[in-house]
Symmetry: C2
Subunit: 400 residues, 2 copies
């Protein structure tokens, strides 16, 4: 991305044509910020979205999927403090009412908006109804708090945090004078049950909905889909991309795709790095598979293995567990042709351990496991973390 | 099993025609017993075996699979203190040499035996060669230690323990005067990487190899295959069934199948109960699936979910995580038709929480989760455990 400059101090309001805000609406008992709004001032309102593959989908996911069929969004309202998942017809009605309230408030503020132009995202505990009195009062307030410039984006990024310790933002400024911005929350190892990954990307580049959709799907497949903290998939995961077209520049689809991919990749690294309680950032790379898809399956198999993850927590180069995990892939492998390395040191080759395999130093925070299957050219990388005491602690104590 | 009497104080030497022994051969640094022998005195030597589905198979598994093609076994030699997995051609040669040494020692002792009549089982850390001087000296010694009666069986069951805290044995005495005995090790949550599950079953009933094989496969599919501590599959899992025919009774295939199933089920419960460091014995039952296979997939999905398991460690009735886990099954479900209960208390129905769902008491040691999919008659049960601090501790500190 030599054509672009990447800044992490800027987010969804870096591109022209976007305002945002974040406030404390009282949804969280703690009084922390819990309601965010991203508003597209136009002139374009094209949008694309990617959602959780979980069959148990939260009410806001079902609503936003419906809204995105129009490929047009004026605003995204996001709340932390409650996932609004498994809450029945009443929960869906709450989402609908929220979108209507946002549309009404924006219309009154001066921009005629329909509820079907408002996406809704929620994150928090599954199974509780939202305190709608607080949500609706917050909606009325937040419209008046919207700020241009960079303050609004920063506030919005803070209001969607749950167990995140830092807001996650990124902005890519292209040399041709268009910008892509974004914010993300979640996937912190502290409490992955609410690791609902919410991401909003904005751009002032002009692009039709199909181009946005293609760029977003390609980028999420290569980034967020390969961030695997514990194999669990949220009921609320949502990634949205909104275009205002305010730069009046139409980049090539390739340029746009590259920018969306770079922004997603950077937000992904920020999510992995903020995995509090986790002591290791782990990258699993599988090469030499028959196809990229097989490599991805094998990398996930290893990344999800509790025994591999606990060994890495202990800085233990227990490569036998990597072999045992990869042995469970649903396609044929030849164990005698596999090589394994930890942080560049070969530990297993030709069916047997390498000298010094038990002495590889894994005491640092970054661990790179490479498994070469030697049966083709397919490859894939998955980001994960170790399995630590903090993971058990936070996840056993969350709802109580 | 009203036709049989079940005793846990007896094991592989409960049936007539079997001797066994367990000694400390010095394979374990601790000096604990680490070598076991089960010897079939005949007159029959029919046998069946079921092995790990992991593609990365330990040398003893590959050897024993080859040996079992003859469907005939005179002896099983088992060692703890080393898995002999991922040890290359040298490791396989070690297994072969061990079988030859057992055959030679038994021949010298008075029973002409070939190496191809000797199965080998190993359990311990993956990747290290066994100290063959100690193994071979142990083999010579153990043949002279073989005892009939119940002492030998008990000693053998103790010598295959790794992090198991108690030996696991079972004997079923049939009213028609034939007996089935067994011993097992492994799957304790303390260190499932060496949760190599080794099981040896013996019977003095007369049965041909095909009948033994069918009974064993059916029983393991319904028992050990549904004990899922952490989704990891060992490189060394082995279950063997040996018949001496010494009772001269030929039970019906149904009677034999019922006895093998009852013995496997009881050993399975013992393995789950000895999951030290684990605080909860968890049973996941899925009913109302389109087929039993679908129910099993769904039950495994829930049993392997780290967020479900950490919540149960915290005695937290976080039913939302059960829903999120079941939402990831690879077949279509209707979330609005699912009902979930914890220990008999309904917590989710008709797409929404039941009153009191967050207050269900899960403080006891046994937790039963039932998920009704309401789309058919398929059902399955999986035994698992919670995900505790002790799991992380033991598995992060094992090889160091």
């Amino acid at each position: 991305m030599t054509d672009t400059k990447l800044l992490r101090e800027q987010g969804v309001t870096a591109p022209a044509g976007f305002r945002a805000a974040g406030i404390a609406a009282g949804i969280k008992a703690s009084g922390a910020p819990d309601l965010a709004l991203v508003f597209n001032e136009g002139p374009d309102y094209t949008a694309a979205g990617v959602f959780t593959s979980n069959q148990v989908k939260a009410a806001p996911v079902r609503w936003s999927q419906q809204v995105l069929k129009g490929a047009r969004l004026r605003a995204v309202i996001l709340n932390s403090g409650g996932a609004n998942a498994c809450t029945g017809p009443g929960g869906f009605q709450d989402t609908h009412t929220t979108a209507e309230a946002v549309a009404a408030a924006l219309s009154e503020w001066g921009t005629e908006t329909g509820a079907v132009e408002v996406a809704v995202c929620s994150t928090g505990l599954i199974g509780d109804r939202l305190p709608m009195d607080k949500v609706l009062a917050g909606v009325t307030e937040i419209v008046h708090e919207m700020a241009g410039g960079l303050v609004g984006g920063d506030e919005a990024a803070r209001a969607i945090m749950t167990t995140d310790t830092v807001p996650k933002q990124v902005a890519l400024h292209h040399k041709d004078n268009w910008t892509l911005g974004g914010m993300a929350k979640g996937a912190g190892m502290l409490a992955p049950s609410l690791a609902t990954m919410l991401v909003v990307l904005t751009t002032d580049a002009k692009a039709d909905a199909a181009t946005l959709d293609r760029a977003l799907r390609r980028a999420t497949a290569l980034t967020f889909d390969r961030l695997d903290i514990d194999g669990s998939c949220s009921t609320n995961d949502t990634v949205l991309l909104l275009s205002s077209g305010a730069s009046e520049i139409t980049p090539s689809p390739e340029e746009l795709e590259a920018a969306v991919l770079a922004a997603c990749d950077d937000l992904c690294a920020q999510l992995q790095a903020d995995a509090e309680g986790v002591t290791k950032r782990v990258t699993i790379t599988v090469t030499g598979a028959g196809a990229d898809g097989d490599a991805l399956i094998a990398a996930r198999c290893i990344a999800r293995d509790s025994l591999v993850k606990t060994a890495l927590f202990g800085s233990d180069p227990n490569w036998g567990r990597v072999l045992a995990a990869v042995g469970m892939v649903p396609f044929t492998i030849d164990p005698d042709r596999i090589t394994v390395s930890f942080n560049g040191s070969p530990v297993f080759s030709d069916g047997a351990p390498m000298p010094g395999a038990r002495e590889v130093d894994l005491s640092g925070e970054d661990i790179h496991v490479v498994v070469e299957l030697n049966q083709g050219t397919g490859q894939a990388m998955v980001r994960t973390t170790d399995l630590s005491h903090a993971y058990v602690e936070e996840n056993s104590a969350y709802s109580s």
